[in-house]
Structures are given as C-alpha cells and as structure tokens.
C-alpha cells in the first residue's frame, strides 16, 4: 500500500481497504496526521488537531476486531469546520475577540459522525463567524497565493490537499459550494431542514445549512447517510424519510430534464467558466439529458433579499456583543457587516422574506418542467489573496458580490445544491458546476453530479502535493 494512494483515497475506498485489513484506522490516522504536520504550515487549513485522534482510532480498531461491527464511517478520519461545537475540541468560530467563548459539547453533526464510527481528527478554519468568502489565513492548495473561498475555506483546502477525505462545512450564502468550487472538491448543501443545525454557531437562522465537503460525489452520499434524520433540537429540521443516498448514483442522466437559467446564472461569467459549463451541458446532452432554457426575472431582487435577511439576522445574533463592545475586536469587514444589522428596517426585512416566497414559487414552476438546474458555481476561479474586487468581462465587482452571486439563490430557497469539479481555467485553477433540485431531492442532485464527475475522471490533484507522501 503506497502512502500516496492512501491520502487521496475516497471514503468508500478507505472503508473497503479497512474492511480487508490492508491497514488499521490507527495507521490511516497516523498517516494523515503526518501529512498535515508536513504540509499544513503552507495551507493553514486546520485550526485545531484533536489530542485524542489516535485514541479514537485505537478504540475503532479494537471494536472492529472484537465485535466485527462495522458502522458506516468506522475508523474514517474526518474534520469539522470551526463553527461546529465539539465536546473534545475548542470552538472559536474564527474569532479571537476577547470574552467570546462557546460550549464544549457536541453539535448534532459531531454526535452523528461519532455514532457512525468516524474519527474526529480536527477543526478547520472558517472566515470569522462564517461572514466572508476568503477565510484568511488559509491558502488554496492549487496555488497558495490565491484564496480558498469561504467561509468553509479550511474544509475545502484540507480536503483538496489530501489531509482528510471529508470535512463538514456550513453554507449561508454559498459557504460550502464556494470553497468546493475554488479548491476543486465536491461540496453539498442539502435541503434546508435535511440536516440538524443544532450546535452550529448561528450566522443567519433561516439561511444556514450544514453539509459535507468531499473528494467524490459518492463520499458526499455516504456522509449524508450518516447525518440525515430528524432532530427536534433544530426548529427547522424536518421529519422527512431518509433515503439511501448512494442508490441514486447509479442512475445515469438518460432522460433527466435539465434546466438552464439564462439570466443571472449564465450572463456574467468569465470566458473560461462559461466555456467549461457550456461544454459540460453538451456532455449531459450527449449522455441523454434533455436541456430546457428559462429566464427568472425575480432573481434580480435576490441580492437585496439576502442582504436584508442576512444582515438583520446576524445583527440580532451579535447584538449583545455589539453593546458590550466585543465586535470592535472583529476583523474590520466582519465587524462592519455585523454592526450594520440594525440599519435594516423591519419592513425591508419582511419584504425580503416576501421576495423569498416569490422566488420559491418561481423555482417550483420551473421544477414542474425539469428535474435539476445546472449553473456555474462561481462566475470565476479563485483570485489572488488581498484583492477587494475582481473584474469579470471588464466589470468591476466586490469579491463578496462576485463570489456568492450564483450560490445565494439556493440559500434563499433552501433547495439542495452541489458543487462538483468540472474542469480548469487556462491558469490551472479548478472550475465548479452547480446542480440544484426540488426540496429533499438530493438524489437527483447526486445522480447528475456523478455523471459530471465520471466525464471528468480522473480528477487531477495539486501537483506540489502529489509528489510527497
């Protein structure tokens, strides 16, 4: 067994090889810890490594040996974004502001990962309070002078660098899918209410979605099998039947009805991204999918709606800390976004919630005609660290404005959406393709994503990280 194979292996392959006894969970965990120690000083994806990761792996190996019981993620090391509470690792939500602490207790996702046998190896960096798409100081493994995206930038970078096969992210306006796209990994934002948010530091109560970042679509499905299910502690969690998400992977796209929304999603992308997505749409068509084009004028009001909801919600969450002067210690941009929450009027907030209803209705009408919608995840690839604006086809746009433009409609509507790698730009940076579907139809999302993934296999890896163990 070569070490190189081990750290790029998918969860499904690791499971198979652990079952065959090719290596133990302790050996796998040791290997990943050594790799993180060797390379993460350049990427800085982890903020905390568990003190007892090897002990967790020893217990898993012993359980496997003595009982023969093999749970879904038995012995597989995973990580969580640093806004998920954990009982054995501190949570900072990316802030160093004095006087702000979080409980040492497991979030629902941490509980379920442990119950599935996973080894909680560490916590990955988040943009402070998940309020940004850059995640300093994390670097993009494909080019360490570029940003990894965010706010789950540590998770995207750690998975792309071969440090961990899966890391949990959270997505309020695109924070799972943006780093997935920029780092060339898979990022799934399930339907709002599919996974419990209990124990995740809130950003915006009606927009926050937990979800996994992985290197393969199948791994995202496997993780969903261990995480999905009702939890009354999360008021938004819905008691819906939980399918075997891996069953949808074998379907292919023959007969799948694919929608393309020409305004908003397809009219302001970099030439490389546009060409790549159009090529993948042709691939889908060649494989038997049927394409239909639409326009959706209400999307023109989406930015206004998400600003009003997100700013007001985050302002309410941080209100006490603003009064206590604690936000003065936040990063300047995060501080400003949090402190402007009270400037959003209640009337505008409710009008934003009305726009959301209209948008949900419009998507429903569209889903009467198609099974999935395909868009680029991002209008461009990862930009250089330190930029405050980007230029797309000669138009200057703020980095926040550009990075969440194509992802936030699916936070406003709560629809399941995935980013799957689908190619590279001329500078060798990954491009992501986004697929969305009806509420609780993650299976169609996964089915279509598998076809995109297969058409692009094998997925390349950052070259400087492939030559070392």
């Amino acid at each position: 067994v070569s070490n190189t194979e081990l750290h790029w292996a998918s969860i499904s392959e690791l499971r198979r090889r652990l079952d065959l006894g090719e290596f133990s969970s302790v050996e796998l965990t040791q290997h990943l810890l050594a790799r993180i120690a060797d390379h993460d000083q350049q990427i800085r994806s982890f903020i905390h490594i568990s003190d007892d990761a090897l002990e967790q792996a020893r217990i898993s190996d012993r359980r496997r040996r003595l009982t023969g019981v093999v749970r879904l993620l038995e012995g597989i090391p995973v990580a969580l974004k640093d806004n998920y509470l954990t009982s054995d690792m501190p949570t900072t939500a990316g802030t160093t502001a004095p006087g702000i602490t979080f409980p040492m207790e497991d979030s629902a996702c941490a509980e379920r990962l442990r119950a599935a046998g996973a080894i909680l190896l560490g916590k990955t960096r988040t943009h402070e309070f998940a309020w940004g798409t850059i995640t300093p100081p994390v670097a993009n493994p494909w080019d360490i002078t570029r940003i990894p995206g965010g706010s789950s930038g540590g998770s995207g970078a750690a998975v792309a660098a071969g440090f961990i096969p899966m890391s949990m992210g959270s997505d309020t306006g695109g924070s799972i899918r943006i780093p997935a796209s920029f780092c060339g990994v898979v990022g799934l934002k399930p339907t709002f209410g599919r996974l419990s948010r209990h124990g995740i530091v809130p950003h915006s109560w009606s927009l926050d979605h937990p979800g996994p970042l992985t290197r393969t679509v199948e791994d995202a499905a496997l993780v969903m099998n261990s995480l999905a299910g009702y939890d009354a502690r999360d008021p938004a969690c819905q008691d819906q039947p939980v399918p075997d998400f891996t069953r949808s992977l074998r379907g292919g796209v023959r007969g799948l009805r694919v929608g393309v929304i020409d305004n908003h999603f397809m009219d302001r992308n970099s030439p490389d991204v546009q060409a790549c997505i159009e090529a993948r749409l042709c691939d889908l068509q060649r494989q038997g999918a049927r394409l239909t084009h639409f326009t959706m004028p209400i999307l023109d009001y989406g930015l206004a709606a998400i600003y009003a909801i997100e700013l007001a919600s985050s302002g309410a969450f941080h209100d006490r800390w603003i009064a206590e002067g604690r936000t003065a210690h936040f990063q300047p941009e995060v501080r400003a976004l949090v402190e402007m929450g009270r400037l959003v009027s209640a009337v505008d907030y409710l009008k934003a919630e009305q726009v959301r209803s209209v948008m949900a209705q419009e998507f429903k009408k569209l889903f009467d005609k198609v099974d999935v919608i395909v868009t680029p995840t991002e209008p461009l690839t990862a930009w250089k660290s330190g930029q405050s604006s980007v230029s797309i086809n000669g138009h200057e746009e703020s980095v926040l404005g550009a990075s969440w433009r194509l992802t936030y409609p699916f936070n406003l509507t709560g629809l399941p959406a995935i980013s799957v790698p689908c190619g590279f730009d001329r500078e060798g940076m990954p491009i992501g393709l986004q697929i969305a579907a009806r509420p609780f139809d993650e299976q169609s999302v996964l089915r279509c994503a598998t076809s995109i993934e297969r058409a692009n296999a094998p997925m390349a890896r950052p070259s400087w990280l492939t030559t070392t163990a």
């Binding site: 509980e111 009606s206 009702y230 939890d231 009354a232 502690r233 008021p235 008691d239 009001y301 930015l303 206004a304 709606a305 600003y307 009003a308 700013l311 209100d319 603003i322 009064a323 400003a336 402190e339 402007m340 009270r342 400037l343 959003v344 505008d348 409710l350 009008k351 934003a352 919630e353 009305q354 726009v355 959301r356 209803s357 209209v358 949900a360 405050s388 604006s389 200057e396």
Partner: protein, 70 residues
C-alpha cells in the same frame, strides 16, 4: 475604488435612536458609509408590490412540543 458617500438617511443622532444601535456616533458614521451600497441594493425592494405574498416566515405554535429520539 472611490468610496460612495454615506446615504442621506437622517441625522445620525436620530438614526442612532430609531435603530437602537449601541454604536457611538463616530462609529455609526463609519458603518453607515460601509452600508451605503448595500442600502442602495436593499432599497430596490421598494419597487415591488407584494401585498398578496405571505413572507417566508411562519409561526409554528407546536414547535416547543416537538420531540425526537436522539
């Protein structure tokens, strides 16, 4: 990039009282300046007549009674 001027909302002291912000006037001015382009975007919501649309906020009185096996 030239920073946009603060929106002509109202005197800061009145804004401070109406919004209930805990920020002092100097800081409020800075925040208002940063808010200007976002305010402009949010103001576009006024163009929409949505009186027949229920907002996507639903009160659920049964919420405290929900239980699940953990």
């Amino acid at each position: 990039v030239k920073k946009p001027p603060p929106p002509n909302l109202m005197p800061e002291t009145l804004l401070q009282q109406l919004s209930g912000t805990a920020l002092d006037l100097d800081r409020l001015q800075e925040v208002v300046r940063a808010y200007a382009p976002i305010f402009e975007e949010i103001s576009r919501l006024k163009d929409l007549d949505l009186k027949t649309t229920h907002p996507a906020v639903i009160f659920e009185p049964t919420a405290p009674y929900r239980v699940s096996a953990r």
